[in-house]
Amino acid sequence: MNPSEENLVLRLQDPKSRNEAFRELLELYQERLYWQCRNIVKNHEDADDVLQNTFVKIFRNIDKFKGESQLFSWMYRIATNESITFLNNRAKKHHISSEELQQQIIDNLENDVYFEGDEIQLKLQKAIATLPEKQQQVFNMKYFQELKYKEISDILGTSEGALKASYHHATKKIEEFLKQT
């Protein structure tokens, strides 16, 4: 952790300064975490729900953060887990598979007021939905959020080499999907 992050964590762990520090944390990371959630759940309202749950979890568990990883990676992991859990629960609730749910979500994008993609971008989303879960995550983090491999490696606990290979495979599959459709 860098010194400013360390200081922020200390203030978050101190009940006296916790609320003020948490507002700072929100300011600093809300957009980045929002896009992490949004890229997984796709819909704005769902991303909003998941993001708020993510921050509630961060607030409640900040005492357990031991500084063994970057604060940013730790929060990203929570956001990622929350998003995936959200999707799994929804699939279970509707008695459908995760793949079927993904398909439904992508189909709904065409009528989503907060999706302004053209035909190619919609196809891109359909292509991403065909990727294995890990490749989807790597592609979203690298392509849309422009995270560094080092950062993605910290978040997903995967080596940079494996991530590069994963991203390469993902782009190839997407290219193929776009050519075929």
Partner: protein
């Protein structure tokens, strides 16, 4: 940086718009970043001012969401010791029925299963200290066949906290 400039001849007649080179770098970087996205830019949008109120909404949720409660194990050691107590009492009652030879009216007239059920139903798992047999007095037994020494020995061996059973907190 002057060294990097190519000689510019005023005679060529070419001119550049004023300030052209001033923001060239930023425009170029923007272009490069866009071109990098071979599949296009992020098509997802966010409602206007969404992030302005997010902090307040998260704090509202923090105030209203249930806090993590203390995890209470379903079966505690204490609870098991009480169950052992119930079993011991039931065993004594049962043995008194089987081996009671003097024909006197006693516990044998009771339905053993009903007694067991009553004791188990009365056991408050959330608050074992309120269990009815905490106040049960061993000396109150009317059955002369019960060997009190043996009973104490049995309870001492089988119950982790006999003091609780004997109401000696």
């Amino acid at each position: 940086m002057k060294k990097n400039r190519l000689p510019y001849s005023n005679k060529s007649g070419f001119k550049v718009p004023e300030g052209y080179f001033k923001d060239f770098e930023s425009r170029m970087m923007e272009r490069i970043t866009d071109d990098d996205k071979e599949f296009g830019a992020n098509p997802f949008k966010v409602p206007e001012n969404y992030f302005d109120q997010l902090g307040d909404r998260v704090f509202d949720k923090l105030d209203n969401s249930p806090k993590k409660g203390k995890v209470v194990p379903l079966f505690r050691k204490k609870t098991w010791s009480y169950i052992a107590g119930v079993a011991a009492v039931a065993a004594v009652l049962f043995s008194s029925v089987i081996f009671n030879e003097n024909g006197e009216i006693g516990f044998e007239d009771l339905d053993i299963t009903a007694v067991e059920n009553y004791l188990l139903e009365s056991l408050d798992m959330d608050n074992p200290n309120e269990s009815p047999y905490v106040d049960y007095e061993l000396t109150a037994s009317a059955n002369p066949n019960i060997d009190k020494e043996a009973l104490f020995e049995y309870l001492n061996e089988n119950i982790e906290e006999p003091a609780l059973l004997l109401n000696e907190d």
